[in-house]
């Protein structure tokens, strides 16, 4: 039996009681609880986060030292790919807090020595609500976390709403969509028709958004219970009518980090050559974003493709080309989904395999029922027809009313209707036992 969920809920409840019922310092309590929780996952990761936070605190004080800090962090990040798996138990959360530290060290190098306190940094790095998948904070945002305040019933209800909303998105929508997308992307060795792969990649784009934003909802909700306001990571991106709008609304904390540390410095240096400066900045930003996800060819191609889409759009806009919103939206979803094909393929072989199938003419002779529906539905008996129909209808309804639902999830009013309906749907059709992992925990 896997005890981790029960132990973590127990520790979470204990810390909630201690947090509000004692006079101990809020950060001390949350840091202690985080260390206990992470050490149950892997004690090596606790040592790693403490050591790298201590190193950052010491090395932020001068330019040359900060360089050493950056190199140490890069060394740790790269080591994951070159060491055997039995040694890399220290890697939980590393890619998130390591670049948070690097951002701070780069500020010491480029601007002036920083004076962050060890405790504040450790809290920003290890706080259990954000440890495994962010949001990644910028130095000024770490500062803004400041002193933690005491019980606030409004934050408590809005936190609870947000957590339930996140659980609903994950186990009802994302996990059920995963059953469909996995028929294609979980079977790389099988040959599919081009249309099947394209539909699966659009569904994967939606799944990935729901999965990661669900995690963020839960993380921000949990933080809110302790009166901590973490940064938003998504702003309903699937309605974007341009690629640039999409990237302003998706994984915001990573894009902000890359913008501050790479795009702005590059586009400032090259500002005398406006178009080149922006294009080089965009490409660098997105290739780095790809590499951050892992040293795989698929991620690099994904980054390059997004860089090319965004640059083309930027130059197009500068020359006065304007598309109707609906066409912009359709193209954005298609472009992003096509690039995500490489993201989900990860390796070079898989990427080639999928793209070859999309781009061969024979692959476009297909029958909807046998080649598309039966594949995506894992069969096409009445049961599968019902299942796929239900999942897709639910997903569409959700995407249509998402704005309103999100408003309720962020509201500090207690709505018995909102909570009970979402909980009921979770129990009725949620994947309570065999749900997929949170995708962004692997990075």
């Amino acid at each position: 039996m896997n005890w981790f969920p029960y132990i973590s809920i127990f520790i979470f409840l204990v810390s909630l009681i201690v947090y509000y019922k004692t006079k101990l310092d809020g950060k001390d309590i949350l840091i202690t609880a985080s260390i206990v929780l992470i050490s149950i996952l892997s004690w090596q990761s606790v040592l790693c986060v403490i050591a790298l936070t201590a190193a950052t605190t010491l090395l932020q004080k001068s330019k040359s030292k900060a360089w050493i800090g950056v190199i140490i962090h890069l060394g740790f990040l790269l080591s994951i790919y070159f060491l055997e798996e039995r040694i890399t138990f220290f890697k939980f959360g590393l890619s998130y807090y390591a670049i948070q530290n690097i951002g701070l060290l780069l500020l010491s190098i480029r601007n002036k020595p920083q004076e962050f306190k060890f405790k504040d940094l450790l809290f920003a790095n290890a706080f259990f609500a954000k440890f495994v998948s962010g949001p990644i904070l910028l130095p000024k945002e770490i500062n803004a976390l400041g002193q933690l305040s005491k019980f606030n019933p409004k934050n408590f209800t809005s936190g609870t709403n947000r957590i339930i909303y996140g659980i609903f998105k994950k186990i009802v929508l994302a996990d059920n969509l995963h059953i469909i997308t996995n028929t294609v992307f979980g079977n790389e060795e099988v040959e599919f028709k081009g249309i099947t792969i394209l539909i699966a990649s659009i569904l994967f784009t939606i799944e990935m958004y729901l999965n990661f934003s669900a995690y963020t909802d839960i993380a921000l909700g949990v933080a809110k219970l302790f009166n901590v306001n973490l940064k938003e990571n998504f702003k309903i991106p699937l309605r974007s009518s341009s690629v640039s709008e999409y990237w302003k609304k998706t994984h915001i904390s990573l894009i902000d980090w890359l913008t501050q540390n790479f795009f702005y410095p590059i586009s400032f240096q090259l500002r005398k050559y406006p178009k080149y400066g922006v294009v080089i900045g965009i490409l660098t930003t997105f290739i780095l974003s790809g590499l951050w996800h892992g040293l795989y060819a698929g991620f690099v191609v994904w980054g390059i493709l997004n860089g090319i889409f965004l640059s083309t759009e930027y130059i197009g806009k500068k020359t006065g080309i304007k598309l109707p919103k609906s066409i912009g939206w359709l193209l954005t979803i298609l472009f992003i989904s096509f690039s995500n094909l490489f993201f989900v393929a990860k390796t070079w072989e898989n990427s080639l395999n999928f793209t070859q199938q999309v781009f061969t003419i024979e692959s476009w002779h297909f029958k909807w029922e046998t080649d598309v529906f039966a594949v995506l539905g894992n069969g096409w008996y009445l049961e599968q027809q019902f299942q796929i129909g239900m999942i897709l209808t639910l997903m569409l309804i959700f995407l249509i009313v998402e704005k309103n639902l999100e408003k309720m999830a962020k509201s500090s009013n207690f709505s018995i209707g909102f909570i009970s309906i979402l909980t009921l749907i979770c129990f009725l059709i949620g994947n309570l036992n065999d749900g997929a992992e949170f995708i962004y925990m692997q990075f």
């Binding site: 601007n111 501050q260 702005y264 400032f268 400066g277 922006v278």
Partner: protein, 80 residues
């Protein structure tokens, strides 16, 4: 004080031109978030345009530190 006003007026014209807008109503408290087209992609190009129009040069961290138009005006005034 009157120089502040002159700079603000000129900024209004230059920024409106840059974003190809009818005259924007920029005040000292306006921020980039208030103007839809003013995003990270355009930011440094606008800074370059301002450098050319006012015949000055900014430093990177100065630019990164501007919280609103007021701080930009102050910085331009010091350089002129």
């Amino acid at each position: 004080m009157s120089q502040d006003k002159d700079i603000l007026n000129k900024l209004n014209v230059v920024i409106s031109d840059f974003f190809k807008k009818e005259k924007l109503a920029i005040t000292l408290t306006t921020t980039a978030n208030d103007i839809e087209e003013w995003d990270s992609l355009n930011h440094m190009n606008l800074i370059r345009t301002l450098e050319e129009e006012f015949n000055i040069e900014f430093e990177f961290f100065e630019v990164m530190g501007f919280e609103n138009i007021g701080e930009l005006v102050k910085s331009i005034e010091q350089k002129m």
